[in-house]
Each structure stands twice: as C-alpha cells, then as structure tokens.
Amino acid sequence: MKVIMSLLFFDMAFWFYLATMILYFGYWIFRKEWLGQAATVIAIISTFAISMMLVFRTKESGHAPFSNLYESMAFFVWITSIAYLIMEFKYKIKVVGAFVMSIAFIAMVATSQLPYRFQDIQPLNPALQSIWFELHVFSAFIGYSGFGLAFGMALMYLIKARFEERKTSNFLIDRFPASAMLDELSYKSVAWGFIFFTLGALILGAVWANKAWGTYWSWDPKETWSLITWFVYAAYLHARITRGWRGKKAAYVAVFGFLSTIFLYWGVSFVLPGLHAYASQ
C-alpha cells in the first residue's frame, strides 16, 4: 500500500516540532515576546502537520491511525500538542511549552527511529478489528498525554520549589509559574489523564478483551503494566492529600508514574512477551 503522503507530513511535522521546541526555549531564555508568539504559531502549524499525517495515514491504511507503535506515537504527539495548546490559551504559561514540546519532539525522534516495518501499513489481524480496540487506544492515549503534561510540570515544580525554598533567584527559574500553580496544573493533568487512562487502558481494554478472548482480565504483561501505572497515579492522588507527602514527594510520584507509562508503552512491547507485543508482528 502507498504511504507517501503520511510520511511526507510526518517529516514536515518532525522539523516543525524541532522549530517549536527551539522557539519555546528561545522565549524562555531571551524573554522576547515575539519569540513566544512565533513559538505558539509554529506549534499550531506542527499540530496541523501531524493532524494531516494522521488523516492521510487513516486514508492510506483504511483503519484508525493507532494500530502500531509508529501510528500511535504520532497520535500521542497530536493529543499532547492539542492539550498543551488549550492549556497555554487558558493559563498563559508559555515557559511550560519548552518542557512539553521537548516531550513531543523526543516522541517524534523516537518514532522516526523505529524500524522501517513499522512505517509500512500492516493489515489488521482479527483481534484488532473491533471498535472497542479503537476506543481503547484512543482513550488510553489521551491518558498518556495527560500523564506526559503532568510529568513536565512536576519536573518544573520540583525545580521551582527548590528555588522558592532557598529563596534564591535565577533568571531562568524565575520565569517559571509559581510552584503552587505548577502543582495545581500538574494535578489537573493527572486528573484528566487518570480518567481517560482508567476508561481507555483498563475499562475499554477489558471490554475489548472480553469480546475478543472471553476474559476481561488475564494478567498479560501489558495489562499488568497498565495496572501498575494506575496504582502509581492512584498513589499520587492520595499522596497529595496525605500529610508528609504533599508537595515534593507527590511530584516525585507523578514523575515516577510517567516513567512507568513509558515502560508500559515501549518497554512492554520490546522487552516483555505478551499479547500486545506490537514489535513481534
């Protein structure tokens, strides 16, 4: 099957995301308003390019654009960009863009490094031909994005809180939003992420498994890692209301949660055996 247009748009998006990331860093370091505006504009163009990539991918393959690692990574970048742009318009905190767009760009780099067979379009095997599978992945990836944003802001929180505590000043760190704000936004991202992750990765995944194999849960490594990640974020939510865990420790849990998400997403496919092993196809 022909995959020309989607590859073209992917390559375009790749360079746009690089530009976006550099511009957000430029805005953060040089404090020029025009750099910030340019960053936002290029971020929107990048998002458009990756949207077109997904549209063409859908057209070329004839199925929803998240059936293998290559497609789903692009999908992750897409949702993360949209979520970030919404947040930027709502809260006007462009410095966060440097962190979030770094995550998006790293995802683009990782995607472009995948072996060629992932870029090729594979017909869907019988188990994947289900609306539940599509809803499952769609919703789970919104969850991953929420966790990704929370990760970025939890890192910023940890840096900022340290400087606030010591009352030291640094021309880069001073541009961060206040730590209380970062904590709040990071919590909000986890909240969004947790809802869609629970719904997508666990509930819809269970519905799909039940339809396809007749059991909603079978402790397959991917399922188990979803549950592990879920436990970590449940711990984060409760750490935020536990005396002695609020603040920095909770932020570390959010960081840890995203590492678990990355393993769930990449590690399980390449390291552990199981039903979901995209890589073994």
Partner: protein
C-alpha cells in the same frame, strides 16, 4: 478487668483502627501492589516447574516456595488486595459521616470577622443602601448558579452561597465502585466457568454448566470449614458447528476466522446458523461462545492422495488418486480397493499396548492408516508415512507399492465457552467509577459567605469563600463577583 486495662484495650483498638484507616497505609499498599506486579511481569507466570529451574537455577526453589510463579494468586498478593479493601472501608466509615455533615451544613449567619479569617476574601465599601446591595449580590450569585441562603443577625445581613456539593462525594463513589468491581470479580471466580474445545464441522457438543454446592472442608487441622464445591455437568444446551473458514487478505495474512453455529435448548433449535468471528461472539443464557483459535486436525483428514508404483522399479503406474476419509475407493485398473481409516499428525507407537498415537498436534510426522482389500477381502492394514514414502511396502505379496503422497487436513475451530455472571457487575462498577471521577475532578465544592452591614455613612460588604480544590480558578471567580458588585454600584468605591 481494671479500668486501666479497659482503656489499654481501647487504645490498642483505636490504634489498629487508625492504622487501617490511614492514608499512609493506602500509599504503602498501592506501592506494594505496583512493585509486586512488576515482579510478576518479569518472572514468567504459570510455567512448568522445569522452566524455573532452567531459567533461575538455584533461585528456583525460592521462587516456587513463595509463589512467585503464580504470583497474582499467591496468598500474600490477595492479602494486599484485602488490605486495600479494608483500608477503603475503614477510611470511609471514619471520614464519610463528618464530611457529609460539613458539606450539607449551611450556616448563613456569619459575621464580618468570620469572613475576614477566610483565605480568600475582599472588603468593599459602597455608597448604596444595604438592602439594595444585598439584593444585587443575591442576583449575581444566583446568575452564577449558586444556591443561596440568607440570614440577618446583629451584624447586619449575611448570605451563604454554595454549589457543587456532589463533587465532595466523587471520591466515595470511586471507592464504592472499586469494591463493586472486586465483588464482580469474586462472583465470577466462584460461579463462572471457562472451557475450551476444538470442533469439527458437523460436530455437536453439549454445553456444560457449573453447579455450586455448599460443602465442608476439613483439610485444615480437621476443623470443618464451609467450602463451595463446584461441579460441572451437562446442560440441556447443545451446540453444532455448521461451518468453519478463514478469510485471507490479498497479501496472504489472516483476516478473520469464522464459525457458523446452531444452538438448541432442550431439543429445540433456538439459534440457527449464526456466524461468529473474533470480536463477535454469540451469547445465550449467560453463556458466551467465542471464536478463539483454529487448527488442523491431528487425528483425521478430509482426504488423502496416493500413488501406485511398481514395487521393483519404483515407477509410477497410475496418476495420483484421491480417497475420501472412511470411504472405500477402487484403484482404477486393478482389483484393489482401499479405505482410509486412521491418521496421526505426529506418529508415535506405544509397544506396551501396541497402539499408534499422535505425539503432538503438530504435523511433524503425518501417517495414514489404510485398509487394503483385494477382490473384496481385507489383505492388509498398513500405516503409511508422508515423510518416508518408500519405506514400507503397503500391499503384501504383490507387485504394487502404495505411496502416501499428500493429504488435505480438516480445519477445526477453537471455541471458548465461558460463563461469568460477575462481568456485568464489573461493568456497572466501571461505569460508576468513571462517573465518580468526573464528580471528584470536575465538580468543585464552592462556598461563599457575604456579610453586608451598615457603616457610619456607607455600606460595608465582606465577601469570602472556599473551594475544595482548584483554588486559582476560584480566586478569579471571586474577584469577578467582587468586580460585578462594584461595577453595579452607583456611588464611590473604597477598598
């Protein structure tokens, strides 16, 4: 018991209670569950014992001893889950009643000092009459969908406004839904069953049912304990496989497995010729039939192809001919007749019982059993090998050699037959959990108090409020309300 003994018991009791209700325990349990689950994904689960000794050497006995090879069913893993349940229950008993009370409380009669002590507050001095100001504030709050309650006390008039009380109970909905899901899992594991079977076209099977009975278990120190005994027996439901086939993509990859099933209950055909495929099972009376796998039969074939050769010269004398399974076939140009009566996919012979059996379901060494008749009389019954065509002479005392050339296997469909009455409880719990999340994360409990009192010349308004989370948004909302109060004011404003 002396009084101090009693209070000692009480303190120990309350300490235990506090322990089981604490959030630190929650964190401990959640992290432990996560950590052990990681171990369960690293050490492969439910493999044969030899696997562990091969893979882990001297650690294998330890792994088997503590149950790491079937971790998710080990007693200590279940204990962690039990601890989580206990934690939720105790925590809810502890916190729910006071939360319910403070959430529903609507104390409108507050003075200016109370408001000034709130984290979020504003004081305005307006030139309008108090009654007018109060009316406007009430309108503004109502327009923002707050519920309001008024009071008038010694210190002028006061207002209590609130919204989003349900948000407070989102976490409880989540916790209850979690218990519900676990109930569903337990119901399923007690009353459900899961069966697998390979079926050939035309085959009819009787679907099993499980019966539960309360029995007595004396395995623990001979002490009688209640035990649920499960027994599988035949039901009145019968299933027939009408057809099975595989669809392929142009590239040759498998697109779909399909089975056509006919189901009858107590002898009556209920569902006739229903097609199922992966992701599209058939359900009847809580029993679900899934397309789960397929394979080629290891003990029969559809048809086999043979050649007839000269025994001495190995020269083929007939074109290949095809004999159907268990159907006599007259070899053209001879007075021989053959009948295919047996097949194994992986030939093995047990000398003790002198029987042939398939070593595996793989087609590693296919062999076929034929009966050879001459002029209507059985003369031999050889096993012929696909991989070793010329090894054995098939027809004794003759110039002919029968060669097993090829065969067409019979596909069987692998169906899973499941019954899990707990599944619906799990789905209900899951739906409830998502509802609970939305309540907890997106409905904020906002409370605003206003006190309007007459100063020497002007009217003094104190307004303040609280929110359970999302305080930046609330700060902004409160400022907007204050601005609105100011902007509608006719006279001068003083902060």
């Amino acid at each position: 018991m002396t009084i101090s003994d009693k209070s000692a018991v009480k303190t120990i009791g309350s300490r235990i209670w506090v322990f089981f209700g604490s959030l630190k325990l929650t964190l401990f349990v959640l992290f432990s569950l996560a950590a052990f689950s990681v171990v369960g994904t690293v050490i492969q689960q439910n493999q044969p014992t030899e696997f562990y000794s091969g893979e882990y050497g001297k650690w294998a006995p330890l792994i088997l001893r503590i149950g790491l090879e079937d971790m998710y069913h080990a007693w200590w893993f279940s204990t962690l889950l039990l601890l989580l349940i206990l934690n939720i229950i105790v925590c809810t008993i502890d916190r729910f009643p006071p939360k319910w009370k403070t959430t529903l409380e609507s104390k409108a009669d507050v003075d200016a000092r109370f408001i000034k002590n709130l984290l979020n507050k504003h004081t305005l001095i307006l030139q309008d009459k108090p009654a007018f100001v109060r009316e406007r504030i009430l309108n503004i709050l109502r327009k923002k969908r707050y519920k309001v309650k008024e009071a008038s006390g010694a210190e002028g008039m006061s207002i209590y406004a609130w919204k989003g009380r349900t948000g407070r109970f989102g976490s409880d909905v989540v916790h209850v839904s979690l218990l519900l899901i676990l109930c569903g899992v337990i119901i399923g594991s007690i009353t459900g069953f899961k069966d697998f079977g390979a079926f050939y076209e035309g085959e009819v099977i009787t679907v099993p049912v499980t019966e539960l009975r309360l029995g007595i278990d004396r395995s623990w120190h001979g002490i009688p304990l209640p035990k649920i005994e499960r027994q599988e027996k035949a039901s009145d439901i019968q299933l027939r496989l009408d057809k099975f086939w595989i669809d392929y993509y142009e590239s040759g990859q498998i697109k779909q497995y399909n089975s056509v099933l006919t189901l009858s209950d107590s002898g009556r055909e209920i569902i006739k010729g229903r097609q199922i495929w992966v992701n599209a099972p058939l359900s009847y009376k809580g029993i679900t039939f899934y397309q789960s796998s397929y394979g080629t039969a290891y003990d029969r074939v559809k048809q086999a192809e043979f050649l007839l050769k000269r025994a001495k010269t190995h020269k083929t004398i007939t074109p290949p001919f095809t004999a159907l399974w268990n159907t006599p076939y007259d070899i053209p140009g001879t007075d021989y007749r053959i009948k295919v009566v047996g097949f194994v996919s992986d030939f093995a012979f047990d000398p003790a019982t002198s029987t042939v059996f398939p070593k595996s379901a793989e087609h590693n060494n296919p062999a076929i059993n034929v009966e050879v008749y001459k002029a209507g009389k059985l003369v031999s019954r050889p096993w012929l090998f696909y991989n070793y065509a010329d090894l054995f002479a098939a027809i004794p005392d003759s110039d002919y050699e029968l060669v097993f050339d090829s065969y067409k296997g019979i596909l069987y469909t692998g169906l899973s037959i499941n019954k899990d009455p707990g599944t619906n409880v799990v789905w209900i719990g899951s739906a409830l959990m998502v509802v609970g999340f939305f309540m907890a994360f997106f409905i904020f409990h906002k409370r605003i108090w206003v006190n309007v009192r007459k100063g020497s010349l002007e009217t003094e308004v104190n307004i303040g409020g609280m929110i359970n989370k999302n305080k930046f948004v609330f700060e902004r909302e409160l400022s907007e309300i204050v601005d609105e109060i100011k902007s509608g004011s006719s006279g001068g404003i003083k902060q």
